[in-house]
Point group: C2
Chain length 330, copies 2
């Protein structure tokens, strides 16, 4: 490609910050072919799913950057990505598109209501994408779509009432009630932006949000602020804590306490059968899951404790959810 | 009556601790006649609703006291109360019974799973009541039944997704999702027993429960502990705070902060359209509602704030909910 339009210039596939390649995508099962896009503040995952449910051309490309509202450059980029996918796989004829984005999403109205790192307010993303791509578009919130994929294909498959929690750079959540996502007009599930402490101030404007204390991003930032050392992510802080670094231990301990408080609130009020935890921090395994199980049981009394299970679809749950949603409108 | 069996000896109607007579019961509307019982740890409210939905013989009588499981004495007492209601109103022929109790309730299985002040564990209250009373019995949790009455007849009538919060001696809650109570096997809605602080230890066994900090009972107890003065209820503590009593102001302020934290959690995670607040503390009016509205808005950012509205059915919501449930099984 020699075009200089930044919205149309698609770099090569990128890998995770951690250096891992994209995880293999679990198949969707048979159904109509669809295009799927999982848009984040940093990158876009895209793929073409065929009639067997196999993903083709899966890659991760940077989300185009402009000041302010990124709607226009994003829609243009989706058009280019779609054209490339279709050109590379002419035998697969997609019938619909699934598009999922972060922030506050009104899926019914097709609006990106608000996304702090994408700059839009009440942006009619569904209709704009449909015009640009010439196909019906299913539009949803990224983590709600991911929870739907975990419900149909992954860690939540056995639970009608579950919470899916993604702990990575931020913390996002989604509720499954009676087997389906509970949305509340797009406002439900903001577990990352529920208060658990008096501070620090969160980029969202509130104070003491769970995300500002206990996300993988916050754990790394807090360790840097406390010691001047730039850790290699939250994983490194957890390893330092285990090796006897007191500052790391204090930060990891307070993050676990904050996560426990949020889980205790969820348990008392919603009483989900399961909490499915994904995102980068979930790779901490027993250091996370065993600690949370133990602390949650100690924090509550007569309550019915949820099972805490790892998400199974890892970084691809949002993309799979987008594809599942696309098949609903095809 | 000259019988000496304590379970069968029914004292006269009692009045509220505050001296108020029982509030007039709003009519249910037309339907089959039913008996309704709202059982609490202290007293039982009972009434016979006729085909017009008018309550007859409404009264509040003490819950019989025995050590341990109170199932047997309760069921016997319900039999006596039912017989008296039917004898006093021979023209009204009830077709079913509504029975609501506190604690953890498995409405589907008809079980009182747990109630700290009534001593039972997995007690088959529905079937026992049905045998004793010779009628089909609808069985439910008291505050969920109250939320159902508020949904059909009261403050939640305009809201599909709402939380009903009763702040009195304790704090109990119930969730309405998609217009119907959300139960999670009886474990949902325990807002009073969700952690908001590191202490004090709650009678439920957990620590820092909202109920232990911010219920009307806790506010009065905490003022007594801080000053040695026995206040005339939470209302008195609030009045003392307004009059410049620093200890009262500190306690009331911390109670409002704790309630705000719980409301902020509900808003972020469930995003209800409304929170309907009843119970003794709700009579504080603006001192409660205006403060909570202001503090909740200050505590959050992009979130969709619920409207905070007073419950309309006051102390009779549980009884009305029991009667509504009874009509469903008649």
């Amino acid at each position: 490609m020699t075009r200089s339009d930044p919205a149309a210039s698609v770099p090569d596939v990128v890998r995770d910050a951690s250096g891992e390649a994209l995880a293999a995508v679990r198949g969707l099962g048979a159904g109509v072919p669809v295009l799927a896009f999982d848009v984040g503040g940093t990158d876009i995952k895209s793929a073409l799913f065929d009639a067997d449910g196999t993903a083709h051309g899966l890659r991760r490309t940077p989300t185009p950057i402009v000041d302010g509202d990124r709607t226009e450059v994003l829609i243009e980029r989706l058009g280019v990505l779609a054209a490339e996918l279709r050109a590379a796989h002419p035998d697969v004829e997609p019938q619909a598109v699934g598009l999922v984005v972060p922030g506050i999403v009104d899926a019914d109205a097709g609006l990106g209501v608000f996304a702090s790192n994408l700059g839009w307010h009440d942006s009619p993303l569904r209709d704009l994408a449909s015009v640009r791509l010439g196909l019906p578009v299913a539009f949803d919130h990224d983590v709600r779509a991911a929870s739907w994929a975990e419900r149909l294909l992954g860690g939540a498959r056995d639970y009608e009432n579950a919470v899916v929690l993604v702990i990575g750079t931020g913390i996002a959540g989604a509720l499954l009630v009676g087997g389906v996502p509970y949305t509340a007009g797009g406002y439900a599930g903001e577990i990352g932006h529920s208060p658990v402490a008096e501070g620090p101030i969160c980029p969202c404007g509130a104070r003491g949000c769970l995300e500002a204390v206990a996300s993988a991003g916050a754990i790394a930032r807090r360790y840097h602020a406390a010691t001047g050392i730039v850790p290699n992510g939250a994983k490194d802080v957890i390893a330092r804590a285990a090796a006897g670094d007191q500052a790391a231990a204090d930060i990891w301990n307070s993050a676990l306490d904050a996560l426990t408080l949020s889980l205790a609130q969820l348990t008392a009020v919603i009483a989900p059968e399961a909490v499915v935890i994904g995102g980068g921090l979930s790779r901490a395994g027993g250091a996370l899951f065993d600690e949370l199980r133990e602390r949650l049981a100690a924090r509550l009394s007569f309550h019915r404790l949820p099972v805490l299970v790892p998400a199974e679809l890892s970084g691809n749950a949002g993309l799979l959810g987008a594809a599942l949603r696309a098949r609903e409108v095809a």
